[in-house]
């Protein structure tokens, strides 16, 4: 999308310019545009980090609270090479990811299945909609202490929290996607001979897929939130625990370092998800590049 509109300025070509020349000019303009975008992205990042570092060193902001990029980088390096005070960093990361991924997978599978089922069954959706609204109105994080009380300090309580964070988002989108499925397309499938199950599997679910994917993008972030909030409230391992300990010892660099780790993981997951989506959605029209 970043280079959807390429401006070749048709007016600047002399009469008699060949198509090859126009295409070459367009390709060059596109490349130039891409480079400019990348340059500014890096320039802004570097300027931000430099401003942070300098303000910290000059004591314009208190590095005790705000840390500095160099201190954060150093803390990350220590954690990676020597491990944290609570054991190796990789183990904490592994624990958090395990919780988030398990919660994400179970939450989205349950969300899709129940969303599609209620979307297809008007009676059931009328009956259950009130309960879903009620449960949905609870801010999910307040469930953390309850889950920890019931399920203990281990994996199960964080998975449960990540699950409820993910479930409702995916459920709503799957439900809506099913309701928005084109009526003519459904009638067409039924007349072509589709049974109820075939209709759900090969018409309803694929047509709800773009809705479902939109929710999966945000909900992996929610799964990480669930895992980390769970770890805040009570745990023996995890990135959330690291943040909690850093907070307890007024270690600002440690807190920011943990945030950076989460950022990297979330961006990686988002990237993977986009790749999967692009593979599955190759039937969708690609935006045409404007040539004038």
């Amino acid at each position: 999308m970043t280079d959807a509109a390429i401006d070749i300025r048709a007016g600047s070509f002399r009469p008699g310019t060949s198509d090859a020349e126009i295409e070459a000019a367009a390709a060059k303009a596109a490349q130039h545009r891409r480079r400019t975008v990348i340059f500014w992205r890096f320039a802004i990042l570097i300027a931000f980090l430099a401003a942070w570092e300098i303000s910290g060193r000059k004591a314009w902001i208190d590095p005790f609270f705000y840390a500095t990029p160099s201190a954060i980088a150093q803390r990350l390096y220590e954690w990676m090479t020597e491990g944290t005070s609570e054991g190796p960093l990789w183990y904490h990361l592994y624990v958090t990811m395990e919780e988030a991924v398990l919660g994400f997978v179970t939450g989205s599978v349950a969300g899709i299945v129940i969303g599609v089922a209620l979307g297809r069954n008007r009676m059931a959706s009328d009956i259950f909609s009130i309960y879903i609204k009620v449960i949905n109105s609870i801010p999910r994080v307040v469930l953390a202490p309850i889950f920890i009380m019931i399920l203990g300090l281990g994996l199960a309580s964080k998975v449960a929290l990540a699950f409820v964070m993910v479930f409702f988002v995916v459920f709503h989108n799957a439900f809506q996607g099913v309701r928005e499925a084109d009526r003519a397309m459904i009638a067409n499938a039924r007349i072509l001979g589709a049974s109820d199950w075939q209709l759900t599997r090969s018409v309803i679910v694929p047509s709800a897929m773009s809705w479902i994917f939109a929710s999966l993008h945000v909900s992996f972030g929610f799964a990480i939130i669930g895992a980390i909030v769970g770890e805040f409230v009570g745990s023996r391992y995890g990135i959330g625990l690291l943040i909690n300990i850093a907070k307890g010892s007024f270690d600002a660099a440690g807190m920011y370092a943990a945030i950076v780790i989460i950022m990297v993981v979330a961006l990686g997951a988002e990237y993977l998800m986009t790749m999967v989506e692009n593979r599955l959605a190759k039937w969708r029209p690609q935006p045409l590049h404007e040539t004038q």
């Binding site: 003519a184 397309m185 499938a189 007349i191 072509l192 001979g193 018409v203 039937w283």
Partner: protein, 269 residues
């Protein structure tokens, strides 16, 4: 059985269909509607917009049930969706996430035929509508006329004995539409299905059909029936300049015009 063999393809006998509006009021879409379609006959239904033309088709498919009266297919009352029926929609009802060939294969696969067999049949039908080179394309990569040809192949592959068409070509430009008329008449003459073709375009109706039903402004009922005695095979591109075509056109339009005006006056009121 013997009686079933000779029974007409479709019979609607004094059919009425009422809807409930969201406010709970009852609306009548069609009333005392009677129509008979013989086997292999091509019937066109014309009427003012919004008069309930499409409703008649839904009653035949079994997607809708009549509030009163009876709908019979091949002599037997309609119970659910009949596998002998094919339907071509006004809007694009192809599955956009499936390639052209997967779209055409959908019917046979839904009906439990083996994949290889379905694919061979789909290739055959794509050849008949001239889309062999496009079998791996997705619908959005095709023009409107090509998508309609895919829709025709998707419907004809099931070998329907009854073909229902709901303004199938209304979204196409005039040239493409004439080509699609030729295509449809060719496929129909090979398949010998009974056709009900709903349209608001009178010339289209006369060019294609054996019989033209003119409906009244809603609630729809049959106003008059015209038998179109033009020789077949017809060349749709040229037929409209023949004197007999123009005569039919003038006569039926005089009839249809009143209903169109009534419907327009009602909408304006």
């Amino acid at each position: 059985m013997a009686q079933e063999k000779s029974a007409p393809a479709i019979e609607l006998i004094n059919v009425s269909r009422r809807f409930l509006s969201p406010t709970g009021k009852s609306l009548t879409a069609i009333r005392d509607f009677t129509m008979t379609v013989e086997r292999g006959e091509f019937v066109a239904v014309v009427g003012p917009t919004g008069c309930g033309k499409s409703t008649t088709l839904n009653l035949v498919t079994g997607l809708a049930t009549p509030s009163a009266g009876e709908v019979r297919i091949m002599g037997a009352p309609v119970k659910g969706i009949d596998p002998r029926i094919g339907f071509v929609f006004q809007s694009d009802a192809l599955f956009p996430w499936r390639t052209v060939i997967e779209n055409v294969m959908a019917g046979p696969l839904f009906r439990g035929r083996a994949k290889a067999e379905a694919m061979a049949a789909a290739r055959d039908w794509l050849a008949r509508v001239g889309l062999v080179r496009f079998e791996q394309h997705y619908p959005h990569q095709l023009s409107g006329g090509m998508r309609k040809r895919v829709a025709l192949a998707q419907t004809f592959i099931n070998g329907p004995e009854i073909l229902l068409m709901d303004e199938p070509f209304s979204a196409l430009d005039v040239q493409t539409r004439v080509l699609m008329h030729e295509e449809l008449l060719r496929l129909w003459s090979e398949a010998r299905a009974s056709v009900v073709f709903v349209t608001h375009d009178l010339e289209e109706a006369i060019a294609l059909a054996d019989k033209v039903y003119v409906l009244t402004a809603g609630p729809a009922t049959v106003k008059s029936v015209y038998t179109i005695d033009l020789p077949r095979p017809r060349v749709v591109a040229d037929i409209r300049y023949e004197q007999s075509f123009i005569d039919y056109s003038r006569t039926i339009w005089a009839d249809l015009k009143e209903e169109v005006e009534t419907s327009y006056a009602r909408a304006a009121a």
